[in-house]
């Protein structure tokens, strides 16, 4: 199963012997830095994997990236999973783009999925490129923030200053301006790459959000992974509101701050991952770029807690306009 090389030990079980469809699928998942339990998109991917395990009975294996690692280390991780006999490998995060591209070429019998990348690097006949329209989802929560803000002043906290997070910011701002063109939006990033500690430093998230609340903002949206916890704490202390990200954080965040999370921008990595495995189990491998946007329900806003019930109709209206292409949401702020 190992492509060109005959001498690198071949995979333990090839895909040739596919007799029993369900038990035969083995899914290996390579997380980005943070891994399972990061309360962010790695966790979302993990949820999809767990569901696949429960519903489809697939065998699973997980491995997470190490901070600052080499490109070769990522390639090695994917290859290790292939070598260990996993027939489907999911790579979480755009950092894996090149390595998925290479591994897919080297192992044509194995199917890959990559989250957050649709570039040529990772393209392949056996690759499912999963991307999301984070800007569209963020547009909706931006609109919600603007509708809810009494001070006409809202904020955005980004974990690390990367194009992906800028996409969240762009949609958020666009949504807010759509409601109120004169609204004030503060933006703040916690760290600059390659310092990715901004996704894991709640103290910094708290400080940044506090600054916004004290400057007069009353709703703050975060796309800062684990640092988001600090944003919630700040919101609670300031009597303001916060918007969660990736999953429905009103359900997953610590109980004492759930009440301040008025909504979350849900990025359904779990659904996408499950789709990939499910399709495989059904014998129809998913390949090519699969965009999860508002239209396909890949991104959305959450309603847990009922805080946005009063503006739900307005938000759904925007949603429809985006789906219909009446509104095009920008990807850079």
């Amino acid at each position: 199963a190992c492509g060109d090389s005959g001498t690198d030990e071949p995979a333990a079980s090839g895909s040739g012997s596919s007799s029993a469809a369900k038990s035969d699928i083995k899914v290996g998942m390579a997380y980005d830095v943070g891994g399972r339990g990061d309360q962010s998109f790695n966790d979302a991917a993990a949820a999809g994997l767990d569901k696949a395990k429960a519903d489809l009975g697939v065998e699973i294996k997980e491995a997470a990236a190490v901070n600052g690692e080499n490109e070769a280390a990522r390639e090695e991780r994917l290859q290790q999973l292939v070598d260990a006999g996993y027939t489907h490998v999911v790579a979480v995060g755009f950092a894996y783009a090149q390595s998925v591209g290479k591994a897919a070429k080297a192992n044509p019998d194995v199917n890959f999925a990559i989250v957050d990348d649709a570039s040529d690097d990772s393209k392949g006949d056996n690759v499912d490129q999963i991307t999301f329209a984070e800007n569209e989802g963020s547009f909706l929560v931006g609109a919600a923030a603007a509708l809810k803000s009494k001070a006409k002043h809202i904020g955005f906290v980004g974990g690390v200053n990367t194009p992906l997070i800028k996409k969240f910011e762009a949609g958020y701002i666009a949504g807010a301006k759509a409601v109120n063109p004169s609204i004030k939006v503060d933006s703040q990033y916690l760290t600059q790459p390659p310092d990715f500690s901004g996704f894991g430093d709640p103290a910094k998230g708290k400080t940044a959000a506090e600054g916004m609340f004290q400057a007069g903002a009353d709703v703050v949206y975060h796309a800062a992974g684990g640092s988001g916890g600090g944003v919630f704490t700040a919101a609670k202390a300031a009597g303001g509101l916060a918007i969660g990200v990736d999953s429905d954080q009103a359900l997953t965040a610590p109980a004492d701050v759930r009440s301040v999370i008025m909504t979350s921008m849900i990025k359904k990595v779990d659904v996408a991952v499950f789709d990939f495995i499910k399709a495989a189990a059904d014998g129809q491998e998913k390949t090519g770029n699969n965009v999860y946007d508002l239209k396909s329900g890949g991104v959305d806003y959450s309603t847990t807690g009922g805080q946005v019930d009063d503006i739900k109709s307005k938000l759904d209206d925007y949603k429809q306009q985006i789906i219909d292409g009446k509104i095009t949401v920008p990807v850079t702020p």
Binding site: G37, D38, G226
Partner: protein, 422 residues
């Protein structure tokens, strides 16, 4: 190679040391008022109100405490002559300890857990450097590697599967109590909002120190006072310092040098661990991978900045915490700092030329100052990518202008072996 490092550049003062002017409480008060006045002027001149808001100052305190505690750890160890570059690793161990014990046994157990884990780091450093005479830097580097490994490894092993926990983070830990001076805080808040020159700034400072202070912050401040008292006012402290200044002399007077060094490094680890504990318990209520973000190194820098003294260290930590807070809170503050830098650089340049007759350095400072001033006027804001560097640039600038009079303990970084000194 030895941890003591090269001395070049650090001894520009020729001749015998003059008797240093001792700063009493009155001098310190004048300096404090002066600093506050400068900030007030800057705030009024630039309109960046967050420069002296109680929120920014409170955030500064929160960010300064872990750095200060790490630095205090460094102070204890270096005063006894052991360079501790392993503070970062000890802090990391502390964050894990706080997360683990804090979750299972409550926040106060978390505090103790943080201290205990830090002390384990200190113990390793002490055994290596004091017992085996390993180079202090080597040992410190090794501890940083091990600390990181142990915390991540243990987190993955023990936090996975707990509610809200995972390989990279602990479940939520209950909060430690915090205190607000009743009645005073709101009144000061009103005063602060008036944005009066100096008065409002003073109100902001007072409000920041009497509003919503975590008990751990108070403990940290007490630890500073206690450190000062123990090291400079008690017999134990005298012995400990003597061991860092001249271990041979101390041993000749019956002081058990190795024991004091050992103890100091152990305490150092405990303090650094507590610094990590603060991050996990107060700043975040959670253990997270990579939470320390190099604060151990910054603590070390703050200690050197503070000339191996608690007061100086406190200033260094506060400076760092403050600049970090204002940049994280965004807005126009960092931009306003450009004006301050410009004025300071030009002033220093003029001083160098007029008083010290150092024309080249003076002109250089003025040129850089003018450039920074031009930047202030030309741009509305500093690019977000650069604002994050504010604390580092500030620290570097301050050191560049004020580090020549620093003096570390005379035997700092030297390996001491019992009886070999005679």
């Amino acid at each position: 190679m030895s941890a003591a490092g090269l001395e070049v550049g650090t001894t520009t003062v020729t001749g015998r040391p003059k008797h240093k002017r001792r700063y009493g409480p009155r001098e310190w008060a004048v300096i404090a008022i002066g600093v506050l006045a400068v900030i007030a002027i800057l705030r009024v001149a630039t309109g960046a109100n967050d420069i002296a808001s109680s929120g920014a100052l409170a955030a500064a305190i929160g960010l300064a405490v872990p750095i200060g505690l790490a630095g205090l750890g460094g102070l204890w160890s270096e005063r006894a002559g052991v360079v501790n570059i392993g503070l970062e690793g000890m802090m990391i161990l502390g964050t894990w300890g706080a997360g683990f014990f804090g979750y299972h046994m409550g926040p106060w157990a978390g505090v103790l857990g943080a201290i205990a884990m830090g002390m384990i780091g200190g113990l390793i450093h002490a055994v290596a450097t004091v017992t085996f005479g390993v180079d202090h830097i080597v040992s410190g580097v090794a501890i940083n590697i091990i600390g990181l490994g142990v915390a991540k490894y243990l987190a993955a092993r023990f936090f996975t599967g707990l509610p809200g926990g995972g390989p990279t983070q602990s479940p939520q830990v209950k909060e430690l109590p915090s205190f607000t001076l009743p009645g005073v805080s709101p009144a000061l808040g009103d005063l602060e909002k008036k944005h009066w020159f100096f008065v409002s700034d003073l109100a902001a400072v007072l409000r920041a120190v009497c509003t919503n202070l975590s008990v751990l912050t108070i403990i940290a401040i007490l630890l500073f006072v206690a450190t000062w008292w123990i090291l400079w006012r008690s017999a134990f402290g005298l012995r400990l310092r003597s061991v860092g200044e001249s271990p041979v002399a101390a041993e000749s007077l019956g002081v058990n040098v190795l024991r004091y060094k050992f103890l100091a490094v152990l305490i150092s680890g405990g303090l650094a661990g507590l610094g990590g504990g603060f991050l996990a318990l107060v700043a975040a209520s959670i253990y997270r991978d990579g939470q320390t973000g190099g604060r151990g190194y910054i603590g070390l820098a703050a200690m050197i900045f503070g000339n191996w003294r608690p007061g100086g260290l406190l200033t260094g930590a506060a400076l760092f915490g403050y600049t970090d807070a204002v940049q994280l809170r965004g807005g126009a503050t960092v931009h306003a700092f450009l004006l301050l830098f410009a004025v300071l650089l030009i002033a220093v340049g003029i001083w160098q030329i007029v008083r010290n007759h150092r024309t080249v350095q003076g002109v250089l400072a003025i040129v850089v100052g003018v450039l920074v001033g031009w930047w202030y006027l030309a741009a509305d804001a500093v690019p977000a990518e650069l604002t994050g560097t504010t604390p580092y640039v500030t620290t570097l600038l301050v050191l560049a202008f004020a580090s020549q009079r620093l003096r570390m303990p005379a035997a700092d970084g030297q390996i001491y072996r019992k009886g070999e000194g005679h």
